[in-house]
């Protein structure tokens, strides 16, 4: 391969990597499914007739409530969604006048429940619905902890196959080309079904046309990264039980930072820990070596001492020995002399 070709290939690979990353994380931001549907709820139009609740109950084949839906006395109590009621309408007083507000799943653009689910049972659908798949659900109820709108509910009474229950956005009906049950039944046009961007346009138009009638805010345009259900109101949203302090950070982004530390821990901890271990071991080794050296030195000194003693002893021994030998030799010589003399005397040398 020619060098130039190789460099060219490298550049190409680099460029494609860069391009790849540009479309993914970093500066890219996600705007959700285009053409996804939503519903616009206009609290100035809602009259609290509970037709939507009745339709929801019928469409989803939920158990009939104790009191019929045309009994409006239930509006006196603050209610929330329940495993057998996916939507409720609550009544609030503002300046002495009743204001109604419908509650159901807001179908977030970036759902907290889906982000929290550890089996991926929640899914943002291209229609805009946040769907739930009971066949995956383990029943940990973390989705209920995560949901900032406190929507998912649970079948606590069921020992074997309890499910999380929430508004489905009537996804099957939408796919058939029908309206969601509640929207269809609303007599007052307080619910408008349509594409989300179109709904935003309508909401802005209503506020522009009647600035004295509306609060200049579309709830759900930004909240928690935006929801597919949108709300406009004539009274502050806080006054109709809608929290205005949720912020605009999409739920999955709340955990991104902390989750990104996880791979870093896995990648770097072995390094630190083996490092710690190695240092410990090295210390031990050095300690051991030092110990050994000390012993060696001690031994060497002892040996040297011993050697010296030995040498001295040996020398002494040698000296003694020599003296002895000398003595013996002398003695022997003497004896020999005497012997020689003797021998001479006896005329014989026997050595």
């Amino acid at each position: 391969m020619k060098r130039r070709t190789f460099i060219g290939m490298l550049t190409g690979a680099g460029a494609s990597l860069l391009a790849g990353s540009a479309t993914a994380g970093g500066t890219h931001h996600f705007t959700g499914y285009p053409d996804s549907y939503g519903v616009l709820f206009d609290s100035t139009k809602c009259i609290g007739c509970r037709k939507c609740e009745a339709a929801c109950n019928a469409v989803n084949e939920l158990p009939k409530p104790q009191l019929p839906f045309d009994d409006l006395s239930v509006l006196e109590n603050r209610r929330r969604t329940h495993h057998d009621t996916y939507t409720v309408v609550n009544k609030y007083e503002y300046d002495g006048k009743p204001v109604f507000r419908k509650i159901q799943c807001n179908h977030c653009q970036e759902p907290a429940c889906a982000s929290a689910c550890f089996v991926g049972a929640f899914k943002k659908e291209p229609t805009g619905a946040v769907s739930y798949d009971a066949s995956r659900c383990v029943g940990c109820r973390y989705c209920m902890i995560a949901c900032p709108f406190e929507i998912p509910t649970y079948e606590y009474h069921d020992p074997i196959t309890p499910r999380v229950r929430k508004c489905t956005f009537c996804q099957p009906r939408i796919l058939e080309g029908k309206l969601p049950g509640c929207v269809e039944s609303c007599p007052k046009g307080a619910l408008v079904f349509g594409r989300r961007d179109e709904l935003l346009r309508i909401a802005r138009e209503r506020i522009r046309k009647h600035p004295e009638r509306y609060v200049n805010h579309i709830y759900g345009e930004q909240e928690m990264g935006g929801t597919n259900w949108l709300y406009i109101s004539g009274v502050p949203f806080e006054a109709i039980g809608m929290r205005e302090d949720l912020g605009i950070t999409p739920a999955p982004q709340l955990t991104t930072g902390a989750l990104s530390v996880v791979p870093a821990v896995v990648g770097l901890w072995p390094l630190f820990l083996t490092g710690a271990y190695a240092i410990t071991k090295r210390k031990e080794q050095i300690a051991a070596e030092e110990r050994e050296q000390t012993v060696h030195r001690a031994v060497a000194e002892a040996e040297a001492e011993a050697a010296k003693k030995l040498a001295a002893a040996l020398e002494k021994a040698e000296r003694d020995k020599q003296a002895a030998i000398d003595r013996e030799v002398k003695k022997a010589l003497k004896e020999a002399e005497e012997a020689r003399k003797k021998a001479e005397a006896a005329s014989e040398g026997e050595e």
Binding site: L40, K45, I47, G48, C49, D70, L72, L179, C186, P187, K188, G189, V192, F193, G194, E198, L199, R201, I202, E205, K209, H210, P211, E212
Partner: protein, 514 residues
């Protein structure tokens, strides 16, 4: 010793844990309740707030309670200058050092309380009861007095309000620098001056043993109290040299050419409008600064700083400004008789074709007319009389009496809509309104209130022509037939203040199906 201490700590902390645990369980989201508003005489004394942080909450002071106890002897607390001018400051004439002011309040308030107690009467707190007075702010029902025409007439026609020497009328008694030649609506430059002026006069009249205006706060500033006062029903026109009819001449447009010298003018029934508003400043706003100027003095074609750069065109047409023509008319349209239709049609829309011609006429102006008040008035009268006049006579027999609506026939019996009765009721609401009779030019105009988006005719197309039964249109702006009916009926009922039937009382319109 060493042994016992940790145990004790553990015990104390476990106890606090338990107590707090239960406490917090009961700790929901609590909301602080705002204190009930006090009477109109309740004022807040926070004089020292201007000179730094307060070491105590501000003082709640009930002025009316004190003036009643002191039998309206203003000089018990306030110095009275030449004439009967009451100094608004407490026990002092002008600016003082903060420490001095503090001493003045403490010495005089507490001193007076103590003296009163010594005479055997009940009195306010003495020294050491700091927080009885320093109790923090409290809202009050007090409001700015709307000095309406009736009140103005009662003052202007009072024999106690005499013209100053050498003056023809008594206007200058209250309106400073007002002369018959140059009118000035200005009354007082600030709250203090207003109080001094009113009270000085009331005080003098009282001294003269004549029935006088109120001396206590509630007398002017409490709506409930004012409601008990006499109202003059037909106040005569206030003559201040103004024309009855005026010719408002639009500035020369940029498209004006030597060939087209016709000018757009509005013949304006000034006298008619005088009867409809409470006071001159309803239109001649900012009178305190400018007197009664012509609109064009500040609002020119290009705008001036005095006019906050609002052009004359905007000044006349701003849809939500009460000083503008359109704005004021819009406000009238928000009244129950009108709102049923107009809320729905939209108060801010540029309305139907030919709407401009309701006010504007193009004429060839004669030379010098702009400087000639009498000539302008004459032309205005002439043009005004030539304007198309009302014809709102409803031909009852042409109106369907009952319309049956059966789109919810699956659940209910068809609803019987009393069409004619409703038309008659709406027509009755317009009968005495000059605004309505002037602007609703054709008898079918009012049909448009419900049969919108169609030409005004006696036979408008059926609702279902546009509104489909099944579905909304794609962008959701056009409601389904069911929604359209409910919006129209309920919307109108709500706007016109018709309580019955309630929105949710389905069976009162749709009889139950057996």
């Amino acid at each position: 010793m060493e042994k016992g201490r940790p145990m004790r700590w553990v015990g104390i902390l476990c106890l606090s844990l338990g107590v707090a645990g239960f406490g917090f369980n009961a700790l929901g989201s609590k909301q602080e309740r705002a204190p009930e508003p006090g009477g109109a005489g309740l004022i807040v004394i926070d004089t020292l707030a201007a000179s730094g942080k307060l070491s105590y909450p501000v003082v709640r002071f009930d002025h009316d309670k004190h003036s009643k106890a002191l039998e309206n002897k203003c000089d018990s607390c306030h110095a009275i200058a030449e004439g009967s001018k009451v100094t608004p400051l407490f026990k002092r004439q002008g600016q003082e050092e903060p420490e001095r002011i503090k001493a003045i309040y403490h010495d005089n308030c507490i001193g007076c309380h103590q003296q009163t107690v010594q005479t055997g009467k009940k009195s306010g707190p003495g020294s050491g009861e700091c927080r009885t007075c320093h109790a923090g702010p409290q809202p009050s029902v007090r409001e700015v007095i709307p000095f309406d025409k009736s009140l103005h007439y009662r003052h202007a026609s009072s024999k106690m309000v005499q013209p100053a020497p050498g003056q023809r009328d008594n206007c200058s008694k209250c309106h400073a620098q007002d002369t018959p030649e140059k009118r000035n609506l200005s009354f007082a430059k600030d709250k203090a001056e207003a109080h001094t002026k009113c009270l000085a006069c009331h005080l003098e009249v009282t001294k003269a043993k004549q029935p006088s205006g109120p001396m206590e706060c509630a007398g002017c500033h409490d709506a409930a109290k004012r409601a008990t006062y006499k109202v003059v029903p037909d106040v005569p026109r206030l003559e201040a040299g103004q024309s009855a009819a005026m010719l408002l001449i639009a500035p020369v447009s940029k498209s004006a050419t030597p060939q087209n010298t016709r000018r757009s003018v509005v013949p304006f029934d000034h006298k008619g409008h005088e009867a409809k508003v409470d006071r001159c400043s309803a239109c001649h706003h900012d009178a305190r600064a400018y007197g009664v100027p012509a609109c064009t003095q500040c609002h020119t074609a290009g705008g001036t700083k005095d006019g906050k750069f609002i052009t004359i065109e905007q000044a006349m047409h701003r849809p939500r400004a009460m000083e503008s023509c359109i704005g004021c008319h819009n406000a009238k349209k928000a009244t129950p008789q009108c709102a049923g239709c107009h809320e729905f049609l939209g108060r801010t829309t540029k309305s139907q074709e030919g709407a401009c011609a309701k006010c504007h006429v193009e004429v060839q102006l004669s030379d010098g007319i702009e400087q000639n008040k009498a000539a302008r008035e004459a032309l205005a009268r002439e043009l005004f009389d030539a304007m198309p006049k009302k014809d709102t006579v409803i031909r009852i027999n042409e109106i369907p009496e009952v319309v049956e609506i059966g789109i919810l026939s699956k659940e209910y019996q068809p609803s019987k809509f009393p069409h004619r009765k409703i038309v008659q009721k709406i027509a009755a609401g317009m009968e005495n309104s000059t605004l309505a009779t002037y602007f609703h030019s054709s008898p079918n105009a009012m049909c448009v209130g419900c049969h919108h988006n169609a030409p005004a005719s006696a036979n408008p197309p059926a609702c279902a022509t546009c509104h489909s039964k099944e579905f909304q249109d794609v962008d959701g702006t056009k409601p389904s037939l069911k929604t359209a009916y409910h919006q129209q009926c309920m919307g109108c009922h709500q706007q016109m203040g018709i309580q019955k039937p309630a929105d949710t009382a389905c069976i009162e319109c749709h009889a139950k199906k057996e």
